[in-house]
């Protein structure tokens, strides 16, 4: 007798095999699509995957919807940009430091939201991100206001370099988050989301786990934010804007939250769809947002759920 799913090694290996195939595809894509325009678009995909997956660790598992992921992205993006502009530190330093600063932000937001749930949690996370946004606008002599900060060192010299740099970072983040979600850490986070009282009554220091989840989520989003700043050679207030937080939520939900894998699908799909609908002109965003509403209405558990069920039906495993 052996439990299926979770801690059964065979299933884990099969999933890891899936991830390695995905990694191989990511690494081989430039062989086919070498146009800088395509590579820039795929760079965006990598960036959004990192944001959506790190958001998922926090919200998909503990069930508290964070509306402030942009706090980490913008915070680390601007911190990295300032360090680069004033101290001349390169990406090899600003990325990890940006991540650490975002983790620190996670510690702060996590401590402020410890006792909060549902709408209250959402409101406070939102406020932190919006405060940062307002700060950027008001203290324009430091943060550049609406125009942001330009003239940041590039990440890599070519689009291909940016592609590989972001791709490898993304794969590392996915692997880390995935293994984490399948470990006791993920199990405990889920138990907190289901019933925090019972989790604490089972001897779990829920405060510690919630804060650590916040810090890890912040770290990955922060690294992504700093990376984005270097790749664009520019950071702007939109990196701290609530529409970025909203976009990340929608990507994760469309893909399927609580799975780490789902948000990957959501981030790729929505980033590519947003671009490929460009021929529709001014109706692009309308079609895009109607599709999002339709997906959430008809597949509330996300596309991953639909794909898994479809796959099971084909293989004949449907119960």
């Amino acid at each position: 007798m052996k439990p299926e799913g979770l801690f059964g090694p065979r299933v884990l290996y099969r999933r890891l095999l899936g991830l390695s195939i995905f990694s191989a595809v990511v690494l081989l894509v430039p062989v086919v699509f070498s146009d800088p325009y395509d590579l820039e678009l795929l760079f965006l995909c990598h960036y959004y995957v990192m944001l959506a997956c790190s958001w998922d660790l926090l919200t998909g598992f503990t069930g508290n919807v964070s509306f402030g992921h942009a706090f980490f992205v913008g915070g680390a993006g601007f911190a990295g940009a300032l360090l680069n502009l004033h101290l001349g530190w390169g990406p090899w330093l600003t990325l990890p430091i940006g991540g650490l600063i975002a983790a620190l932000c996670g510690l702060v937001v996590g401590s402020f939201t410890l006792r909060l749930r549902g709408p209250y949690f959402a409101a406070v996370t939102f406020c932190f991100a919006t405060l940062l946004y307002k700060l950027i606008m008001i203290r324009y002599e430091i943060f550049g206001g609406e125009e942001g900060l330009s003239g940041i060192d590039w990440l890599m010299e070519t689009s291909l370099g940016n592609y590989y740099f972001s791709g490898i970072l993304m794969l590392a983040a996915i692997l880390f988050l995935y293994l984490l979600s399948k470990s006791s850490f993920g199990l405990i986070l889920r138990s907190i989301g289901e019933n925090e009282v019972a989790s604490e009554g089972s001897g779990i220091n829920t405060t510690f786990y919630k804060i650590v989840a916040f810090m890890i989520s912040g770290f990955i989003a922060g690294v992504a934010g700093a990376m984005y700043g270097h790749a664009q050679m520019h950071v702007g207030p939109e990196m701290a804007h609530d529409s970025l937080s909203g976009l990340v939520i929608i990507m994760a939900v469309v893909g399927g939250m609580g799975s780490i894998i789902g948000p990957i699908i959501g981030a790729y799909l929505l980033t590519l769809a947003n671009e490929s609908l460009r021929f529709m002109g001014e109706f692009r965003l309308l079609i895009y947002s109607s599709a999002v509403v339709a997906i959430i209405l008809f597949a509330p558990k996300g596309l991953l759920d639909i794909i898994t069920r479809g796959f099971r039906r084909i293989v004949g495993q449907e119960k």
């Binding site: 979770l6 289901e194 089972s202 779990i204």
Partner: protein, 245 residues
């Protein structure tokens, strides 16, 4: 023998209403104690206070010689006292096995697992003990109510407590389920598990326990063997009298 749990003059008021007043109690290793009283008498308040879910206004709790009065719930669990909940809520979207695995990752359970046994194997053992092992892969929300109660007990047991507190384990159970639960409690008692059981279904409880504490209006009015309690005039007046209303 020295008491492993000592409760001294514990008091708690909720906005002027005395939920518990100067409550004393001692529990020794291996005891099986019943705690009875009418609804709202303060039984669950006792549990909430000693497990750290509510902070007392005054008084102290000593667990194995250590003062635990103002510790957090998870710290008290890790010092050896676990409870079940009156409204079993558990981790509904998780499997039966996962429900019992959560406490296996508590500090206490990890420390006690020196031989490097896999957590899921430990969890399966606790499920076997309570008779739920064959349903390990079922989602908790799909379990019938009686099995949910058993699962909650297995969850609490998986923290390997010195004292197990059961909050109304029989309520909502039919006769068959109640019998299964009684047997499980007796098995645990024979293994030397110390337990306190809150109940207001007296029939099931008095057959099980060795001693009974009666709480009425936040105060302990009697303590003794089930026979003594049944013949205690104060108890009959206060408790049974009120039930007749």
């Amino acid at each position: 023998m020295e008491a492993i749990l000592e409760i001294k003059e514990l008091s708690k008021a909720f906005g002027g209403l005395e939920a518990l007043l100067n409550f004393d109690m001692e529990v020794r290793q291996g005891d099986l104690i019943g705690m009875i009283g009418p609804n709202g008498a303060g039984k669950t308040t006792v549990f909430n206070l000693i497990t750290g879910f509510i902070k007392p206004d005054s008084g102290d709790v000593w667990l194995k010689g250590e003062k635990t009065t103002y510790l957090k719930p998870f710290q008290i669990v890790n010092r050896g006292m676990s409870r079940t909940f009156q409204l079993v809520d558990l981790f509904k979207e998780m499997t039966v096995l996962e429900n019992v695995m959560v406490p296996c990752f508590s500090h206490r359970a990890k420390q006690r697992r020196h031989n490097g046994k896999k957590p899921w194997k430990v969890a399966i053992e606790f499920l076997e003990e309570i008779g739920l092992a064959d349903r390990f892969n079922e989602l908790a929300k799909n379990l019938p109510f009686g099995e949910l109660r058993l699962l909650d007990i297995a969850r609490a047991m998986a923290t390997e407590p010195d004292i197990l507190l059961l909050d109304e384990p029989f309520s909502g159970l039919d006769v068959e389920d109640a019998a299964v639960l009684s047997q499980a409690i007796q098995r645990m008692h024979k293994k030397g598990q110390t337990m306190i059981i809150i109940e207001h279904r007296l029939g099931d409880l008095l057959k099980l326990v060795e001693s009974v504490v009666v709480i009425v209006f936040g105060q302990k009015i009697a303590e003794g063997t089930p026979e003594e309690i049944m013949n205690n005039e104060k108890v009959v007046n206060a408790y049974l009298g009120q039930r007749r209303q």
